[in-house]
Subunit: 320 residues, 2 copies
């Protein structure tokens, strides 16, 4: 796989432009603290609550920035993506906010609940067989037929710049942070966070939190080459994707470190956040607290920002 | 049963004194809004998040006011109560904050998880058989032996005044409310809310939300006499208690209306709050939204405050 990307990563200036573009359209989410969790972690934890974001996930930021960056002419042809997760819902929602069409290619195997969410935001769904090839072919067909702009969930500079606005808000609200932790799947949120943090609070370390059984980013950064993902079935279903050449490049450039969490640790951290902080987060969001609890030597006594990426959970199938 | 109480109900002034006493000790909880729930209800909903309160429930307010109202001499002899719910945890917590002992009489049948919570706040637990007689006998024995002050969960003016501080904050933050809804069990929160609202925002209607299968307050207010509770096993376990003569008197005096919700409605509303607002609330808290959804003619188009009373839930036994 290519180690350098043909897609130009955004800079701090792009994150600031994104903030100007999206701030009236998405929530400035609250930063919560919880004494019980501080006590357990032996640290000061500041939770940036993107579970309370539009569509229940930070993905609303990147999708909004991408959709509202389009020229009027491009916008009229619509946007398209293949995803069955939060990005598809976010893109559908952002497109509706601009009054344009979103095409979402979705495998026939997608959970009904996700399909309903995307349909609920008014997207056109195109079914495909549940294989990567079928998905890409279906997307190509949609784009060729409609002229829609493909908005990749993370291998897209406007998306990454939009995701970085969460860290922008976090640094504006909480000073003297020493570490910022975000979940790590495709690397869009982590890249945006690294770009924003390096520019605004250069002394703050940025750490990616990845499931141990989906540790392609951890291994890629160690190896210095972009390794494929393992098709892992981690409970943190938002983090099953692999880095793109662009996001890999950003993480390397900013010296971002990755720590991993066990499946048990993720589930325990998720439940702890529900029980102690009384907020609903999805497993992917809880990976941040899981690595903090699993690595006391790294985190105890520190002042830590954790981006809780989302809160979309199937309450009929809780992991405990 | 007596219809008039020998216990003097608090006035607005007492609620204000309580606010001065507790405001530095408990959280000024956020008021949340949720577009998805507004759309479903066809109304503007303002959720006062007492699930994010200390010990996870509004009970911290009343317990703190009661504990910090005691003279130094009385305080040194400690406080006592019989409860296995949020009041016991709140009293234990508040006593620890003042550095005094709390005695909690608890039936041997109490869930282990509740016992651990109360012990965790440092209370002395006295076991008793799971009958009302055994409970009262055990409490009398503890009070006689220690000289501790009995703090009733709601038949106590300092407790009611403390609970009223949630509505005080709600009215200070959100203007032009037309209705305030609170859960209704023993009537402490509802009484405090009625007293605060009548004094500060007299045009705002106060409505109590009660489970249909534990509707003793609804029936008592209709009959004009205090009727006993049915020993109901409603899923809203915080609302199984009956009014006291004092709280009954307050609800009558302020013309508080009561609406009831079905068990299915309560569970559905609870899940809706988790799914849409991404916060964890206990069934008792969800009764507020349940009556709003069940009575569109009363609530549609209105601007409504709902006090979400608590968020203490056993995640191993969710009601859906």
């Amino acid at each position: 796989m290519a180690e350098t990307s043909s897609i130009q990563a955004p800079a701090l200036e792009d994150v600031k432009l994104a903030a100007a573009r999206v701030s009236s359209r998405v929530h400035q989410t609250p930063v919560m603290t919880c004494e019980g969790l501080d006590r357990i972690a032996g640290a000061e934890l500041f939770f940036k609550c993107e579970n309370l974001q539009k569509v229940g996930a930070f993905k609303a930021r990147g999708a909004t920035n991408a959709v509202f960056s389009l020229s009027e002419e491009a916008a009229q042809r619509g946007v398209a993506t293949h995803s069955s997760g939060n990005h598809a819902a976010a893109l559908a929602w952002a497109a509706r906010e601009r009054g344009i069409v979103a095409h979402v290619v979705m495998p026939t195997s997608s959970p009904r609940i996700k399909r309903i969410a995307v349909e609920g935001y008014g997207a056109e769904i195109t079914d495909c067989e549940p294989t990567l090839m079928a998905r890409e072919a279906a997307l190509e067909e949609v784009v060729a037929r409609t002229g829609a702009t493909f908005i990749h969930p993370y291998d897209n500079p406007e998306v990454v710049a939009g995701q970085g606005t969460a860290a922008l808000e976090l640094h504006a609200e909480i000073d003297r942070l020493q570490i910022v932790v975000t979940p790590l799947g495709g690397g869009g949120l982590l890249s945006g966070t690294a770009i924003a943090t390096a520019g605004l609070a250069g002394h703050v370390e940025v750490i990616g939190a990845e499931p141990e059984i989906a540790d392609d980013a951890y291994r890629s950064l160690r190896a210095g080459v972009l390794l494929p993902s393992d098709d892992s079935m981690t409970v943190a279903d938002g983090l099953r994707t692999a880095l793109s050449p662009m996001t890999f490049g950003v993480l390397r450039r900013f010296g971002v470190r990755v720590l991993t969490a066990s499946e048990e640790g993720i589930i325990e951290a998720m439940r702890m956040i529900w029980e102690r902080a009384k907020i609903v987060v999805e497993p992917s969001a809880a990976v941040t607290l899981a690595i903090v609890l699993a690595n006391p030597a790294e985190f105890q006594g520190r002042r830590i920002g954790l981006i809780l990426s989302g809160g979309n959970v199937d309450f009929d199938h809780l992991p405990w």
